[in-house]
Symmetry: C2
DNA sequence: GGTTAAGTGGACCAAACGGTCCACATTGGT
DNA sequence: ACCAATGTGGACCGTTTGGTCCACTTAACC
């Protein structure tokens, strides 16, 4: 594509979008003020409105971006995992990092958003639903692989098990945010895994 | 206690507090404005500040009130349930009402608060932790009763199972808020129950 | 009935909110 | 060199936020 006339952007939209995503992830939608966003994204208000349209439009793009990043990451992790079940275990155990304080307990943007908005806004509800579907897809692939590998009985309903995993992960993240200790989380993870076989 | 001098209150603090609790429950802390609260509680701003001190103080009292009501309700339900396992099933299945649209999907105040605040505010983090402990206590009693009644093997770690139930319930509520269909929730509930035996 | 203690309504406040607008800067095309 | 097109910084906007203050009302007590 030929270079467009006019002054070029002084920032990388991708980088800025990612920065906004991290802010929303950490603090939620309402709690991330315009000032916070500008500071995190390192752009001026005009640029934000010009490039992203506004706070809510920006947020919706962040949701998509989050899904892209996370699903890609999970897909890679699944592809390089020793086994489907190993991937699932690793996935569940990732909440322990939050509990141990290795990283901030910010949960999952999709679930956080589901909790913050319930279904007040249709556009955001749809973004949440899509995020959920994508996560479910990864879990489904993992379960099916584990069934092929003989770690999960083939007669179990893979779709339901995937639902169960998404739900369980959400519960674990919330518990972690609520300040549950590591032992409780570990015990719960063990029970979740046990339910798969 | 002798009647205090001065003008008497024109509202019932208990009723007002409960109304505030329901608002916070439905809309969260940040999303409930002072105006919303005054309207819901049917009192003037002066009265609110006089009687409850401010928004956050009011919220903390609402958290306690929520715990009192819920734990009382659950305790009664457990006492009058046919079996410990029956109570647990009934408890988990209560999310289906939200999914069916029978009532609004507002989740659980304690878990909602955990998600909204993570551990930003120490006082609120403590309120969340206490709410969690109380819920865990009820679940623990239910599990132990189910063990006595032979529905859950006596060698299972009751404390961990109670943790697992709290986590699972939280996950179900979030999924419900995210717009999951009834069949998914039912399937997940079945898997949760299966993990207990 | 006057005095005192308490409650209430509404005006008022500074700060923060998301959003708009415009003068100016910076580029490519001619 | 000039022009058209685009980006940027900052002033500015009305609204809403949680919170304070005070004049006024209402009751109990002596």
């Amino acid at each position: 594509m030929p270079a467009a006339p006019g002054r070029p952007l002084e920032f990388d939209p991708d980088t800025a979008l990612t920065a906004a995503m991290h802010l929303f992830w950490r603090k939620g939608y309402e709690n991330s003020s315009m000032l916070d966003l500008l500071e995190a994204m390192q752009i001026s208000k005009s640029s934000l409105y010009q490039a992203f349209g506004g706070k809510q439009a920006l947020f919706e793009r962040c949701m998509t971006r989050y899904g892209d990043l996370m699903i890609g990451q999970l897909h890679d992790a699944l592809a390089s995992a020793h086994s489907g079940l190993g991937f699932i275990r690793q996935f569940l155990e990732s909440v322990l990092d939050e509990a141990r304080g290795v990283c901030e307990a910010r949960g999952c943007l999709v679930m956080n958003t589901a909790n913050e908005f319930a279904r007040r806004d249709p556009a955001i509800a749809e973004a949440v639903a899509q995020g959920l579907r994508r996560f479910h897809g990864v879990m489904l692939a993992a379960v099916r692989r584990a069934q092929i590998e003989g770690d999960i009985p083939p007669d179990r309903d893979a779709v339901m098990l995937a639902n169960y995993l998404v739900s369980s992960m959400s519960g674990l993240k919330t518990l972690s945010k609520a300040g549950a200790d590591e032992a409780s989380l570990k015990g719960t993870i063990a029970l979740v895994l046990k339910a798969l076989t």
